[in-house]
Subunit: 388 residues, 2 copies
């Protein structure tokens, strides 16, 4: 089985791209990734592309051929949709295709346009990722769903709104230097606590923003990288995927996200590592409580210990395990179909040493990315390692 | 590389399923496939699921976890969206996952609900598969797009509305015995010619109907089939995928569908066969002209010869190459996200000998399925063979 290298990464700035189309955004990310890799578009054999709500946001489904054209590729493409984990799944299947020997050069990533919709429209469109019959008809949208999860967590393990506010403040601090982040500014714990309530116990600054953006990765086999003398020091050595029931009421415990545990265990076994070896992580913090649950599901903290991690400094940039040095979904932004690819792009930059926050993890050789869909009904985990 | 067997197939009747949900339909197909295979749902390692317009038709995206639950599975799933080729791509990636050694037992298929929408809504929803910026805004919907392709074909090669009417009459005749078909009744060439004009030169009976339905396949490795003593005589021996520009105006020749040629050439090479060895085919006849173009792109007829195939009797049930013995999309129906799986289910039944029309191809050992998205901006071809 051949190894897989990240030969190049490309991102648009995350934020509001008024007047630009989704294809325009993805083209920008794709061309940047090809340039970063030093790979010609004609060498790309297939596009694996993630998008969640294009049929609603731009009335554009069937985006694979649209995006191959936008990126100037001659190959075919495949669209993956797994809610906010769409690009994570697209990358995972690209890794598997290269490992199987079927492909040597893949472009993988995703795109989402969201800010062109009204607040009501975007809320209703995002709710399409929940269970329509049993959640949405009962009035549950995602802030409400994660609020229910936060309440269940607080009931079971303790924790406070202040603990969550430290997660928000940490991720904003990390975003200050990230030129791709939607919010390149700090917030204080007090500001987070004082922000308007959205769904108790979650307030506005517990939530990620609405974001336009695109991500792209050039993934190649080790052989291709060697044959073409590519500078591609970062390898994807582990991939895992987990699933859970779509609706919260069908879960045994709303304070746990077992799909992430399943994905992590598969990815660790695949890479031949344990969670202890991970030096830096990008996790899916669509809400602050989601980062807390991810830290526990991924094996970094025992149940009940994750909620205090940011407050204690364990996950800050100078902590034992820096988490979301990109700014995370919380401060970097969350164009949902692009996020899984963005996390791997950011981790690649962190491990290569060309990320503005690389100095915080100068000796790191193992990183993890965690991308989740819905209320973690879907999860994808990747392990990245410096290979040379 | 392990071989892949179709261990079981499941279909809902195609038609209008008033008052039923998409999950209900997919559960019916999935449970039928598991029963047909004699495989327990707990043995399924992953669901590969195709759906096109669920976010519009049922406000339900993120359908992979919804459908794993509906089918009673414990595993994770992945949704594929490639317009009307969604299930074809889902099956293709399941085949590749089994071949790679990553999986032994996969459920693959798809579902679409369409008849719950008004005619205007369904037309607008289907148009999401075209190029929104350059086709839909110019007023092109799919009947119009295929009418443009038909005009280009007639201009370049000749052919007539009567030739196309023979395609419709043939496929209706094939559907009469198919218990899953939406229209189990014959039509005459004259009825097709006299039906109302939709977009010149296409009339109503040149078009497939609006359909609800689901399809599911249990795909297993040869080793799993042998170890579990499964009765699974049909193998998927070839798979191929092709892509083209999304919009018609970006194509070199609107009378050709090169994505299908690319997919077929890859599938033939994969299976180690030539088009001459194919004894029976299910092709994507969303419009009668689409069957004509498919016959040529797949290598069965020279350019300009496909249009007369049904009229000459070459592709009728007693012809040299029976095409769409299921009734095709034209008469069996076209629940778009389910169609690619349905074609393989029908071909499996034809080759196993338990299809109502199996007597027409009693000696056939090699079959082909061709699933297309949009105006064949995407195409997936599979080769099925009787392996024992």
């Amino acid at each position: 089985m051949t190894g897989v290298r990240v030969a190049g990464v490309g991102l648009t700035p995350f934020g509001a791209h008024e007047g630009r189309t989704g294809r325009d955004l993805f083209a920008e990310a794709a061309l940047a990734a090809l340039a970063d890799a030093g790979v010609d578009g004609d060498d790309v054999e297939h596009l694996n592309y993630g998008n969640f709500m294009g049929a609603l946001a731009e009335r554009q489904g069937h985006q694979a051929p649209v995006m191959t054209e936008a990126a100037g590729l001659r190959c075919a493409g495949t669209r993956y949709e797994e809610a906010c984990a769409s690009a994570g799944v697209a990358v995972r299947e690209a890794v598997r295709a290269i490992r199987s020997g079927e492909n040597d050069v893949m472009l993988a990533g995703g795109m989402e346009r969201m800010t062109n919709l009204s607040t009501a429209e975007v809320t209703e469109s995002l709710a399409v990722a929940a269970d329509e019959l049993f959640e949405v008809r009962a009035g549950v949208t995602f802030p409400g769903a994660y609020a229910l999860m936060a309440r269940a967590y607080f009931d079971e393990y303790g924790g406070s709104r202040e603990d969550l506010a430290h997660v928000a403040a940490k991720n904003h601090a990390n975003a200050v230097n990230n030129e791709y982040a939607q919010y390149q500014r700090e917030i204080t714990v007090e500001q987070a606590l004082d922000s308007p309530e959205v769904a108790s116990p979650l307030h506005l600054f517990d939530a990620c923003p609405i974001t336009d953006g695109a991500s792209a990765l050039v993934l190649v086999s080790e052989e291709f990288a060697a044959d073409h003398d590519l500078d591609a020091p970062v390898a994807i050595t582990g991939t895992g995927q987990g699933g859970d029931r779509a609706a919260l009421q069908d879960r045994a415990d709303m304070a746990r996200t077992p799909a992430a545990t399943d994905a992590a265990e598969e990815a660790y076994a695949d890479a031949g590592i344990t969670s202890d070896e991970v030096a830096v992580a990008e996790v899916h913090d669509c809400f602050t409580i989601a980062e807390v649950m991810a830290l526990e599901s991924l094996g970094f903290f025992e149940p009940g210990e994750g909620v205090g991690a940011a407050r204690r400094g364990d996950t800050t940039r100078d902590g034992d395990l820096p988490v979301n040095l990109s700014g995370g979904l919380k401060a970097k932004g969350h164009p949902v179909g692009a996020t899984g690819g963005s996390q791997i792009a950011e981790m690649t930059r962190l491990l290569r040493g060309d990320h503005p926050n690389s100095d915080a993890v100068a000796d790191a050789t193992v990183g993890l990315t965690h991308n989740a869909g819905g209320t973690v009904a879907s999860a994808v985990v990747h392990v990245l390692e410096v290979a040379e």
